[in-house]
C-alpha cells in the first residue's frame, strides 16, 4: 500500500466534524452558514488533494503516512483507492454546493450542524474499506435524516422501519459471514441477508417506499444529500461484491433492472415534483447497481461512470428543483407552471442536468451509459435491453417535467423569481463538470476501468481464498468476472492527472 504525502483524508473527515460544535454554539444563522461554508470548502479541498495525491502515488491504494485510525479501525480504516478516489471529492463538492445554494430566506431552518456531521460520516465511509467500519458508518449516516423528520413533526416510522431492517440484515449477514470464515462457502442466509440490506438501502423494489417518504417529509437538501452519493452502492461494492457468489450478484442485478424500469414508469405518472425526483433518482441509481452487479469489467466500469454522472447530474437537477420550490412552494406536476420567462437560467440547468442524468450525448453520462448497456447486454442479451427502455422512459419523464414546470402557460409574479448568484454558481459548477466530462470522457473512463479491474481482482482473490479449502487449487472459474487476471498497478492513474 502506498503512502500519501499528507493525511488529507483524515483532515477531510475531521474538519466538518470539528466544525459541528462551532456551528452549534452560534445563534446567528448567517454566522452558522459562513462557518459551514468554510468547513465544507476545506473538506472539499482536502478531498481533492487526497485524490490528486493518490493519483500521483500510482498504486492500487494509499493511506496517510501516519494513520491514527488504523489503531481503531484496522489497516483498511482510512484508505483511498481507485473506487473512492473520485467519489470523495465529488461527495464533498455536493455538500459544499448544497450549502452554497441555500438561500438566506431558508438558513434559519437549515440544519447546518447535522449537514456537517453527515458530511463527515459520508467522507469517512467513502474512505473506509474495513467491513465493520463500513457497517458502522452506514449506521451513523442514517441518524441525521431521522432527527430531521422528528424535528419537523413528521412520522419517522417508514424511514425507521426500513433503516432498522437494513442495519439488522447488514449486521446479521456480516456476523454470519465472520462466523463462517472457515466454512467451505458462505451460507445462503448470510448472503441473502447482505443482499436484502443492499436492496433496501438502494431503494430497490419492493422496499423503496422509504425513499419517496423521505423526499416528501424531510427537507429537500437532507433527502438529496442522503441519497445522491449512493452509499448503498458503496456498500454493495465493499461488502457484497467481494464475497457474493454469481447467483447473488445476478439476483441483485435482476431486481435492480426491474426497479429501473418500474421507477422510470412511476416517474412518468407522478403528480408531485419531489416524488417524481425520487423515482427519477431510483431509476438511474438502479442502473448503477445493475452495472456493478453484472460484474464484468465493461459493465462495472460503466456502472462506476454512471455512478459519478448520476451523482452530479441529479444533484444539479435536485438543486434546481429546490431553487424553484423555494420560490413557488411545493410543486405539482399536474398542471403547467410556465416559469421559463421568470427563470430562464434555472430552466436551462434543469434541462441540462435532467438530460445528463439519462446519458444524453455530450454530457458526462453518455459514454458511461453506453459502457453499461454494452456490458449488461453482453451478459443478458434479452433482459439487458430493458436498460434501454428505462433510459427511454426516463428521458420522456425529464422532458415532461421540464414542460410542466417551465412552459404551458404564463406565470404571473409580482416579485423577481430569477436565480440568485449562489444558486447560479452551484448549478453552473455542476453543469461545467457535466459538459466537460461529456466532451472529454477518456480520462474518466480509463480511471473507472482501472477501478473496475481492481474490484474484480479483489473479488477473485477473495473467492479463490474461500474456495481453496474444498476445491482443487487450479479450478477455472465459471463466471467471466472471475477470469480476469489480477492486473499489476498501472500508470494510467498517473496519466489522468
Amino acid at each position: 500500500m502506498n503512502e500519501l504525502s499528507f493525511p488529507w483524508l483524515e483532515c477531510a473527515v475531521l474538519i466538518p466534524l470539528v466544525a459541528v460544535p462551532a456551528v452549534l454554539r452560534v445563534r446567528d444563522p448567517e454566522t452558522a452558514l459562513r462557518r459551514t461554508l468554510v468547513a465544507s470548502s476545506l473538506a472539499f479541498l482536502c478531498a481533492v488533494a487526497a485524490s490528486v495525491d493518490f493519483g500521483w502515488s500510482g498504486g492500487f491504494d494509499a493511506r496517510a503516512p501516519w494513520d491514527p485510525w488504523s489503531v481503531l479501525a484496522g489497516r483498511d480504516g482510512m484508505v483511498i483507492d481507485g473506487l473512492s478516489a473520485p467519489l470523495l471529492p465529488l461527495a464533498a463538492l455536493l455538500y459544499l454546493l448544497v450549502v452554497v445554494a441555500t438561500l438566506r430566506t431558508k438558513i434559519r431552518r437549515f440544519p447546518f450542524a447535522w449537514t456537517l456531521f453527515s458530511e463527515s460520516a459520508l467522507l469517512a465511509l467513502l474512505g473506509c474499506r474495513d467491513p465493520w467500519g463500513v457497517i458502522g458508518l452506514l449506521a451513523i449516516q442514517t441518524i441525521p435524516p431521522f432527527f430531521e423528520l422528528r424535528r419537523r413533526g413528521r412520522s419517522t416510522r417508514v424511514y425507521t422501519a426500513h433503516m432498522l431492517l437494513f442495519l439488522g440484515l447488514l449486521v446479521g449477514g456480516w456476523v454470519m459471514l465472520d462466523l463462517e470464515q472457515s466454512a467451505t462457502e458462505h451460507s445462503i442466509w448470510a448472503i441473502g441477508m447482505l443482499i436484502g440490506a443492499v436492496v433496501i438501502r438502494n431503494g430497490s423494489i419492493p422496499v423503496h417506499c422509504w425513499m419517496t417518504d423521505l423526499f416528501e417529509n424531510a427537507s429537500f437538501a437532507t433527502a438529496l444529500l442522503f441519497v445522491t452519493p449512493m452509499a448503498g452502492a458503496y456498500a454493495a461494492v465493499r461488502l457484497v461484491l467481494p464475497v457474493a457468489p454469481d447467483w447473488a450478484l445476478r439476483s441483485i442485478a435482476v431486481v435492480s433492472l426491474g426497479t429501473s424500469v418500474y421507477a422510470a414508469g412511476m416517474a412518468l405518472v407522478q403528480r408531485d415534483a419531489r416524488r417524481f425526483f425520487a423515482y427519477l433518482f431510483l431509476g438511474n441509481a438502479s442502473l448503477v447497481l445493475v452495472g456493478l452487479e453484472v460484474a464484468t469489467p465493461i459493465s462495472l466500469a460503466g456502472g462506476l461512470c454512471v455512478w459519478l454522472s448520476v451523482c452530479m447530474s441529479l444533484t444539479g437537477f435536485g438543486l434546481t428543483l429546490r431553487a424553484i420550490e423555494s420560490r413557488t412552494g411545493r410543486i405539482s406536476l399536474d398542471r403547467y407552471h410556465g416559469l421559463y420567462d421568470h427563470m430562464p437560467r434555472l430552466a436551462t440547468f434543469f434541462l441540462l442536468t435532467g438530460l445528463a442524468s439519462i446519458g444524453f450525448p455530450g454530457t458526462v453520462g453518455f459514454v458511461g451509459a453506453e459502457l453499461l448497456i454494452e456490458g449488461v447486454v453482453g451478459v443478458y442479451p434479452i433482459v439487458g435491453t430493458l436498460v434501454v427502455l428505462a433510459g427511454a422512459l426516463n428521458g420522456i419523464a425529464v422532458l415532461k417535467a421540464y414542460f410542466r414546470l417551465f412552459t404551458g402557460t404564463e406565470h404571473l409574479a409580482s416579485i423577481s423569481l430569477r436565480a440568485r448568484w449562489p444558486e447560479r454558481v452551484a448549478v453552473l459548477a455542476l453543469s461545467v463538470l457535466i459538459l466537460c466530462g461529456g466532451l472529454w470522457p477518456e480520462p474518466g473512463v480509463a480511471w473507472r476501468y482501472d477501478a473496475a479491474q481492481e474490484i474484480i481482482a479483489r473479488r477473485r482473490i477473495r473467492l479463490a481464498g474461500s474456495e481453496r479449502h474444498v476445491v482443487e487449487a487450479h479450478r477455472v472459474p465459471e463466471h467471466p468476472a472471475s477470469s480476469i487476471p489480477v492486473v499489476p498497478p498501472t500508470d494510467r492513474l498517473r496519466r489522468v492527472f
Binding site: 417529509n217 405518472v269 411545493r330 410556465g338 453482453g378 434501454v388 420522456i396 414542460f403 412552459t407
Partner: protein, 456 residues
C-alpha cells in the same frame, strides 16, 4: 498540398462549423448573457456559408480526384483496448453523405436568413437560434457519421431540438403537449436504434459502417452479417426510422409538429428531419440485399405510409397540416424506393422533395395572399372540378374515407388507447397502492403531499 490533406481540412470545417455555432450561441446563453440578435444572425450566416462552401469544395475535390469515399477518422473518443471497446469518431464523405450535407447547409442557410426577418425581435429569438444550432449540428453529424455511435449522437441532437422547437410557443399548452408527444415517439425510436447499434457491435465487433457494409463506397457495399441477423437489426432500424420519419403507425406526430414556428416546420418536418429515417435506411441499404423479409417490410411500410398520408392529406383544413401529410406521402414513396433498391432515385427524390417542401412551407403563411394575387390576375375565383377519385369512388365509400382521413386514420387515438392509457393506468394503480402502503407503515398519517409539505 495533397488531395488527402485538402479533404481532411474541408471535412473538419464541415463538421466543426455547426459545432462552433452551437458553442458561440450556447455558451453565452448558459451564462445568462445571450448574444444580441444581430451578432447571432451574423454567426448563423457565417457558419452556413463556411459549411456550404466547404461541402461544395469537398465535392469538387472528390470529383476531381475521382474519389468516391473519403473517411476522416478523428480518433477514439473512448477506447478500452483490453476489452476491444472503442468509440470511434469517424466521418465518411461519399455519394450519399456529400449531397445530403450540401442540402443541409443550403436549407439551413435559407432558413437562417428567413428567420432573421420572421422572428425579428421575438422574445424567443435566441432560444430559437440555440435550438437551430443544435439541429444543424445533429443533422450534419448524422449525415456524415462513419460509425453507428456517431450517427446515434447526431440523431439524439436532432430529436431534442425538434421536440423543443415544436414547443417553441411555450406560453400555450397545445404546442407543449405536441412537443412532448414528438419527444415520446423519438425516444421509442431512439431505443430501437440503440438496441440495433448494440447488436451490430456484437455482430461485427465495432460500430463502423465500413465494418458492417464493406469498404466499397455507397451504394456498392456488401453487408457482412448473416441473413437472420440482417432481418433483426434491419427491423429495429426500420422501427427507428419509422419514428423519426413519421411512418405508419407514428405518423400522428408530424402534423402536430407544425405547431412550431414556420421556419422550423419548414426545415425540420418538411425537409430535413423527416428524411432522416429514410437517410438511415439508405445508409444501411446493403443490408436489404441479405433479407427478402426486410426488403418486403421496408417496401410495405413505405407504400402503406404513402397511401395513408395521400388520403389523409386531402381532408386537412389548414395548409401546414396538408403540407405535412403531402410531405409524408413523398417520404413513404422514398422509403419504398429504398426497399426496391433504387438508391439513386431515392436520393434524388429526397433532395428534390426537401427543396420543394421548404419553399412551400415558407410560403405557407402568405398562401391566402398568393391565392388573392392569382385570382386578381385571372379576374375570377379559382375553381377546381371533381378529381379522378371523386369521379370513380362511390359516395358511400367516399364518406367512409373522409371520416377515417379526418381522424387521421385513428392512429393517434389507437396509440393513446392501447399503449399510453394502459401504461398510465397500471402505474397510477401502483402509485395508489404505494400511497396506501406508506400510509399503513406510517400509522395512518397521510404523506405531506403537494399542498402542505415543507418546502426548504
Amino acid at each position: 498540398m495533397t488531395a488527402q490533406s485538402i479533404t481532411q481540412v474541408l471535412g473538419t470545417c464541415i463538421v466543426a462549423a455547426p459545432a462552433a455555432l452551437l458553442a458561440a450561441l450556447g455558451i453565452p446563453s448558459l451564462f445568462g448573457e445571450p448574444l444580441r440578435e444581430r451578432a447571432a444572425v451574423r454567426w448563423i450566416h457565417g457558419v452556413m456559408a463556411v459549411g456550404l462552401l466547404s461541402a461544395v469544395a469537398m465535392l469538387a475535390v472528390m470529383l476531381n480526384a475521382g474519389q468516391t469515399l473519403v473517411e476522416i477518422r478523428i480518433g477514439d473518443w473512448v477506447g478500452i483496448e483490453t476489452e476491444h471497446f472503442h468509440f470511434h469518431v469517424a466521418f465518411i464523405f461519399d455519394r450519399l453523405s456529400v449531397p445530403f450535407v450540401i442540402l443541409i447547409y443550403v436549407l439551413c442557410g435559407t432558413i437562417g436568413k428567413f428567420t432573421s426577418r420572421y422572428l425579428h425581435r421575438d422574445r424567443g429569438f435566441n432560444r430559437f437560434c440555440v435550438f437551430f444550432a443544435f439541429f444543424t449540428l445533429g443533422m450534419v453529424v448524422s449525415s456524415l457519421a462513419g460509425t453507428i455511435e456517431v450517427l446515434f449522437l447526431g440523431w439524439e441532437l436532432v430529436g431534442l431540438s425538434s421536440a423543443l422547437l415544436v414547443a417553441f410557443f411555450h406560453l400555450r399548452s397545445n404546442p407543449v403537449r405536441n412537443g412532448l408527444r414528438v419527444w415520446g415517439v423519438y425516444r421509442i425510436a431512439d431505443a430501437a436504434f440503440l438496441i440495433a447499434a448494440l447488436m451490430m457491435h456484437h455482430m461485427t465487433g465495432g460500430g463502423d459502417f465500413t465494418g458492417l457494409m464493406g469498404t466499397d463506397a455507397w451504394p456498392s457495399g456488401h453487408a457482412t452479417i448473416a441473413s437472420e441477423q440482417a432481418l433483426i437489426v434491419g427491423l429495429l432500424l426500420l422501427l427507428a426510422a419509422s419514428g423519426k420519419s413519421a411512418l405508419v403507425p407514428f405518423s400522428g406526430w408530424l402534423p402536430r409538429a407544425m405547431e412550431g414556428p414556420t421556419p422550423s416546420s419548414a426545415v425540420f418536418y418538411g425537409a430535413l428531419s423527416v428524411h432522416l429515417g429514410a437517410f438511415l435506411l439508405m445508409r444501411v441499404s446493403p443490408m436489404l440485399d441479405l433479407s427478402m423479409g426486410l426488403r418486403i417490410a421496408v417496401i410495405g411500410l413505405g407504400l402503406l405510409t404513402a397511401v395513408y398520408s395521400a388520403i389523409t392529406e386531402r381532408v386537412q383544413t389548414d395548409v401546414k397540416s396538408a403540407l405535412a401529410f403531402a410531405s409524408l406521402t413523398q417520404v413513404g414513396l422514398i422509403v419504398a424506393e429504398i426497399g426496391l433498391g433504387l438508391d439513386y432515385v431515392a436520393l434524388i427524390h429526397m433532395i428534390g422533395h426537401a427543396c420543394l417542401r421548404t419553399l412551400q412551407l415558407l410560403r405557407a403563411p402568405t398562401l391566402l395572399r398568393d391565392y388573392h394575387m392569382l385570382e386578381n390576375a385571372i379576374g375570377a375565383r379559382l375553381t377546381h372540378g371533381p378529381s379522378f377519385w371523386e369521379r370513380i369512388v362511390p359516395d358511400r365509400f367516399r364518406a367512409w374515407f373522409y371520416a377515417v382521413a379526418s381522424n387521421r386514420g385513428h392512429l393517434d387515438s389507437a396509440i393513446d388507447d392501447y399503449v399510453t392509457a394502459p401504461f398510465r393506468a397500471v402505474f397510477r394503480w401502483c402509485d395508489a397502492m404505494e400511497h396506501r402502503w406508506t400510509r399503513f407503515l406510517s400509522g395512518g398519517e397521510p404523506s405531506s403531499g403537494t399542498a402542505e409539505g415543507p418546502v426548504d
